[in-house]
Each structure stands twice: as structure tokens, then as C-alpha cells.
Amino acid sequence: MKNTNIILASILVVIGVPVVRTIVETENQVTLIGGLVVLVAAAIALTHVPRLRAATASLGGWGEGNFALLAAGGVAVALSMFEDHFSLLMLATVLIYALAAMGLTLQFGYGGVINFAGAAFFGVGGYTAAVMSDLPVPSLIVLACGGVIAAVAGALLILPILRTAGHYAALITIAFGLLFQDFLEVNEALGGPQGLKVEAMELAGWSFNNSLAIGSFQASFFLNYALLALALLIVAMIFLNRINRSWIGLSLDMVREDETAASAFGIDTSRKRIMAFFLGNGIIGVAGALYAMMQNFIAPNNFGFGESLQLIAIVILGGLGNLWGIIPATIIIMVAPEKFQEFGEYRILIFSLIIVLILRFSPSGLFPRTMRSYSHDLERGQ
């Protein structure tokens, strides 16, 4: 990193941390709205003002330095809330949903495979963790199993999805999502509508339900989950970033934009779509397993159609395929409805109205992705 980059990075952390912290922690509606406006404005500035965009893009070449920045910022926010259960729970929830949204980004942001059953795969991960609670298996393996089982469950849909496209494919995933929730509700072995208990996360013999104590301070145990979710999110983002800049990412772009042209170029489009769908569901499943462990409890109504819509709304508002847009989008979608207590009963109404209006006036989301532009390179003679 160059010196200017270090300065810019510090400025970003110094501004970003208090804003995010305020949004997550505040109970005051005016402060909350102010915080959200600042967040959206900052995110739009970073993605739309050419100089700022160039500056952030230059942080560590392909943006790997940005991940260190995110890590530093995330840890700072989490630590600053140290003892506050509710705020840390909220922060961890935001990070887990952002992780799940990364899976969807891989699916329809990169590969163009629409998935309206995000919450179902999230639920498969969660229920895997619940069923494995009784087994003497390390928690990290349970997380991995959540991902694997979710990916395998998605394999049921691969054939019909590959055979069709567009609205037809959307229907297949919608049908799967509803099928999954109905199934959970009537299946007594999985707890029926009452749901199941889940064991807490355990790492190297140490349960996450134990709180970290530093000196006389007693940390909330949600701090553990927030930090783990942050770590997983960053790993997923680095992974996606690397996919995106590799030949795989390039061919995924082609498959999404024009399948016919892609196959004319010899790209095995089915293989690319299968890969995106599999890996994406895997990421969503891991997120679901972690969420279940954090909540200690899961029930079918956590994994309905509305929750799938929430995930899709995150990905679309974040600008399809824009990794960085997902974070502000998740904060808006997860925190705002939770916090607008003053509007009480009306908050779902207000929330959906806001989404409708955003989509109506900015059809490609709040933070549209910058596409690869080769003509730009050509002009510069590269």
C-alpha cells in the first residue's frame, strides 16, 4: 500500500466505523435515519464519484487491501459494542445475512442462475446443524456439513434449471422454497412448526456461549459469533473476488449476458451454471448453520418465502454482482425494519414501499456494479 492509500484507508475506517456502529446501536429513530442516509450517501459516493472509486479500487491492487480494511472496521465495530447483547446480535445477523447474500451473488450476480429459494438453502444449513447437534462432531465440521448438504439439496433442482431459463427457472426455485417450508411444517421428525433446538458453536473445546472476559469487562457472547461471521464473510468475499477476476469469472459473465454466444465460444455453459449454483448454495448453507447455532433454535417460519425475498432484495439493492454494495444493502434491509419500532405495525409496509420506490427509480439497485470495460483499456493502448 502506498502512503496515500494508508491515509485513505484510515479515513474510511474512521468514518465508517462510527456510522455503522450508530446505525446498529441506536434506538433513536432520527439518529437511525440520519445514519442510514450517511451510509447510503457514502456508499454511493464511493461507487459513483470517479476519483473516489479509483482511489478505493487502488487500495491493494485488485482490492485485496479492501478486505483488510473491512476486517479492521468490522472488528472495531464489534469491539466497540463489547457488552451490548442486542447490538452485537444485530451486527452478527447482518454479517451472516451478508455471507448468505454472497452465495446468491455467485449464483445470479455472476452466473445468472436465479434463485428464489435462498431462505430454503439457508434453512437446510440450519436444520443440518440442528440434526447434527447430538453428534460428537466439531462445530466447524457441522458448519461445513451445512454447506455441503445445502449444495446437495440444490442438486435436486439442477436438472430442471439447466433445461430452462428465465421465469420458468424462477418458478422452479419458488416451488422448491415453498415445498421446503411446507415440508418442515408438517414433518414431525424435524420438530414441525415448533422447530428444533441447536447446540451452540464450539471451537477447540471452547463453547461460544462462554463470554470473553478481559479484565473486569465481560463481553457479550454474541461477540464471538460476530467475529466468526466477519471472518467467514471476508473469506467468502476474497473467494468471490478471486473467482470474479479469473477466467471463470469472465466466462460466468458471458454465460449470464449471452448464453448462446458463450456456448459458441466453447464455454460449457451448463458446467458454469452448475458450479455457480452448487458453490452459492454451499455458502448459503454455511451461513444458515452458523445462524442456527447463534440463535440456538430454529423454526420453519425463519425460512419462508419472505426471507428469500429479503435475501434477493439485498443482492439487487447492492447492485447485482457488486460485492461491496452488499454490505450497506444488508444493513439497510436487516436493520431498518427491526429498528423502526416507532412505526410499529407499519414497518413492513414502509419497508416494502421503500424497496418498490428504489427499484422504480433506480432499476439496477443502489450501487450498480461496474462491468469490465475493455474498450477503456484499448483506448489507453494496453
Binding site: I114, P160, T164, I174, L178, L179, T260, L309, I348
Partner: protein, 304 residues
């Protein structure tokens, strides 16, 4: 056998309701190539506006059941028709060049808005509401089977409405305009068809049909619920797609196929009737695997 006939008849009732919803989806897709997912909730708005109209008629003192039914159904048709035209004109038409997924998400969110407006706006709206018996419900005996008269009327009415719509689209000038826009919107504009007006009319008709389905749903089950639209919307969408998007009779076929699947499951496995929807949606996935663009395939295919 008696039980079987009764199940079959209730399956037909479900089928006609699904068909009416599916026809709307297919009309919208035909003219604009978009999916309007708020359609199921428009149906719920239809049920509730019928309920309000009924309360209004009671207040005026009109108490003749059949007349009341006609007035109430007309009210639901008009309200949902206007609502549909507003959704189409205000939100769907401006979005027609956006990625399809964004339109899908937006209309789903409009559906949520409608659902919430009913829940919060109607007195005590989050609880199921009793719907008046507007049609004579004497039981008719056919052989040893008893069938409620009002269901027979509803079934006949539903089929008549679809047949009427079919004739409307085949034989009238408006129908010709709708077909022209569906074929090629730009050319239709060039030869002087009012594009916007045609689209709004289509949205009004399709949504009005959902409104009628909402009234039928209320009369048949004697109960309406604000959240009924989500499931009915997905089922209607499935039915439209099973039948092949963009074909009216395909949508009707899809509606009856979906209802038949559910009914068949209940007849075959009465103990596992809770899995009725699970089975029906699993079959949707299977149907899509066998016929990727529906049982009555789309005319044009981009597949290579």
C-alpha cells in the same frame, strides 16, 4: 365412490379459481413479457372489496341475495381492475426494460404492500373474516352425491368468464389490439394502436378476473384472509407456467392440472394430506423437467 365424486368436484372448484388467477398472469406476460407477482394479493383485495361492498349494501338495506352477489362481484371486478391498471401503468410498464428479476422482485414487494394495507387498513384485518353466503346453498342430490348449488353456480360462472374472455380477445377490436401488442409492441404502435391504453386494458381485465376469483374464493370457503394472496399467487403463477406462458387455455389447463394434483394426493393418501402442497410443488418441478417451457410449449424458442 361418493367420496371420490365429492373430492373431484372440490378439485374442479379449486381448478377454476386457480385458472382465473393463471389467466391474469398469462395475459400480462403475453402483452409485456413481464410477470406481475402482486397478482395473488390483488385477488385478496378483490375478496375484501367484495366484503366492504356487502357491508355497504347491508347498510343501504339491500338484501336480495342474488342481486347482492352480482353487485358485490361487480364491485370487486371494478376495484381490482382499476388497481391492476394502476400497478401496470405506474410500475410495470416503466420497468419493462429492466432485468426481469428486478420486475419480479418489485411486483412481489407491491404484493407485500397490498397485503399489509389490507391487514392494517381493514378493521381487525389480521384475523380471518367471515364471508356472507351470497348464493343459495341448497344441496342438490345427484345419485347419492350431495353437491352445494352455489358451487355449481360458481363453477359455471368461472368457465363462462373464461369463455367470454376468449371470445373478447378473438372477436373484438380491443382483443385484436391486445393480440397485436402481444405479437409485436413496436409494430402495433406504428400502425396506430394505442400501446399504453391496450396494456392498461389488459392489466385491468386480468386483475379484474383475479378479483372475481377472490369473490369466488370467499363465497366457496365462507371466509377470507389477508394473506391468502401469496399462496394463490404462486399457485396461479405455477399454473400459468405449467400451461405455457402466454396462452389462455394453457393457463386454464395448468389451473386444473395443479388442482388435480392436490386432490389426487388427498384421495390417495388421506393420512398425509398435510403434504398436499409439498407434493403439488414437487410435481411442478417434475413437470418443468419434462416440459421445460410448459405443457403447451411457447411458440418461439430461443434455445439453440
Amino acid at each position: 365412490m361418493v367420496i371420490f365424486v365429492e373430492y373431484a368436484f372440490s378439485g374442479l372448484m379449486l381448478g377454476i379459481m386457480y385458472s382465473l388467477v393463471a389467466v391474469g398472469f398469462t395475459l400480462f406476460f403475453g402483452v409485456l413479457n413481464v410477470i406481475n407477482f402482486s397478482h395473488g394479493d390483488v385477488l385478496a383485495v378483490g375478496s375484501f372489496s367484495a366484503l366492504i361492498a356487502y357491508v355497504g349494501l347491508q347498510a343501504v338495506g339491500l338484501d336480495l341475495p342474488i342481486l347482492c352477489f352480482i353487485a358485490v362481484a361487480l364491485a370487486a371486478f371494478v376495484v381490482t381492475g382499476l388497481l391492476g391498471a394502476a400497478i401496470g401503468g405506474g410500475f410495470v410498464v416503466p420497468m419493462r426494460n429492466a432485468p426481469p428479476i428486478n420486475v419480479l422482485l418489485m411486483t412481489m414487494m407491491i404484493g407485500t404492500v397490498l397485503r399489509e394495507v389490507i391487514r392494517l387498513g381493514y378493521p381487525n384485518g389480521s384475523n380471518p373474516k367471515a364471508f356472507p353466503a351470497l348464493l343459495p346453498d341448497t344441496a342438490i342430490e345427484v345419485g347419492s352425491v350431495f353437491i352445494r348449488l352455489d358451487s355449481v353456480i360458481l363453477l359455471g360462472l368461472g368457465l363462462a368468464v373464461v369463455a367470454l374472455l376468449d371470445q373478447f380477445i378473438r372477436r373484438t377490436k380491443f382483443g385484436l389490439a391486445i393480440r397485436a401488442v402481444a405479437q409485436d409492441g413496436e409494430t402495433a404502435q406504428i400502425i396506430g394502436i394505442d400501446f399504453k391504453q391496450t396494456i392498461l386494458l389488459t392489466f385491468a381485465i386480468g386483475s379484474g378476473l383475479a378479483g372475481l376469483a377472490g369473490v369466488m374464493h370467499g363465497v366457496y370457503y365462507r371466509e377470507v384472509n389477508f394473506s391468502v394472496g401469496l399462496l394463490l399467487g404462486v399457485i396461479g403463477f405455477s399454473a400459468a407456467i405449467i400451461g405455457g406462458l402466454g396462452r389462455i387455455w394453457g393457463a386454464v389447463l395448468g389451473g386444473f392440472v395443479f388442482a388435480a394434483l392436490q386432490t389426487l394426493w388427498v384421495i390417495l393418501f388421506p393420512d398425509l394430506s398435510g403434504y398436499r402442497d409439498v407434493f403439488a410443488f414437487a410435481m411442478v418441478i417434475v413437470v418443468m423437467t419434462i416440459w421445460p417451457t410448459g405443457m403447451m410449449a411457447e411458440m418461439r424458442s430461443e434455445r439453440v
